[in-house]
Symmetry: C2
């Protein structure tokens, strides 16, 4: 099904990975590095989005709720509803750290930071 905005509802993870991410002003923020899934449930834990590489600061890996990424066919990438500023104090770490243990500590912090409604309640 294609929604009214042209989004498709079935998305291949292998295609989402590597897709660029833009902020709400159209500025490129980074790209989807991976998508972390829960094995003990049927849920998407979070997307891992790389941001940064600006002013000598290295690339950072941020857990971002899947529902925050809206694919916009016009820009050919995902658009998030926040601006780059919102990332300054956002949760971030290496991908290994993000997926350590069950990843839920980072999930909880990310959903709280972006004000996203938890899917697990």
């Amino acid at each position: 099904m294609t929604t009214a905005t042209g989004h498709t509802t079935a998305i291949r993870a292998g295609k989402a990975i590597g897709t660029d991410v833009y902020d709400s002003t159209g500025k490129k923020l980074g790209e989807v590095k991976d998508i972390v899934l829960e094995k003990t449930s049927n849920n998407i834990l979070f997307a891992v989005v790389s941001f940064g590489g600006v002013l000598g600061v290295g690339e950072k890996y941020h857990p971002v709720p899947w529902s925050e990424l809206d694919y916009d066919p016009k820009v050919g990438g995902y658009v998030v509803s926040f601006t780059a500023d919102r990332l300054k104090d956002a949760p971030s770490d290496s991908i290994e750290a993000l997926t350590k243990d069950d990843g839920r500590a980072f999930r909880d912090r990310a959903f709280a930071h972006y004000g996203t409604k938890p899917y697990w309640h």
Copy 2:
């Protein structure tokens, strides 16, 4: 978190893709070709597992419920609870067809075929 059987609960889609799949007797069936996600919910629609390439029959792409894939660190791959025989009349098509529309028709057929409890009820 690592479960009692050694499984981790947070899984990177990018690592799951390309992982071999074995049947319950230890026979290699194929590999995870992709994982299809729902964009309008937080759910994993199904894994796409390639099976076949046997006796001149081409590779087939099967939608398989995510919960049917159990990672076994001893074999270094996913183990399904069924045997290769179970695949003979299992739903299959091209990846493009599997993800056409919202993919739910294939999801419903796959869950019914493998007797998997639906996650959407």
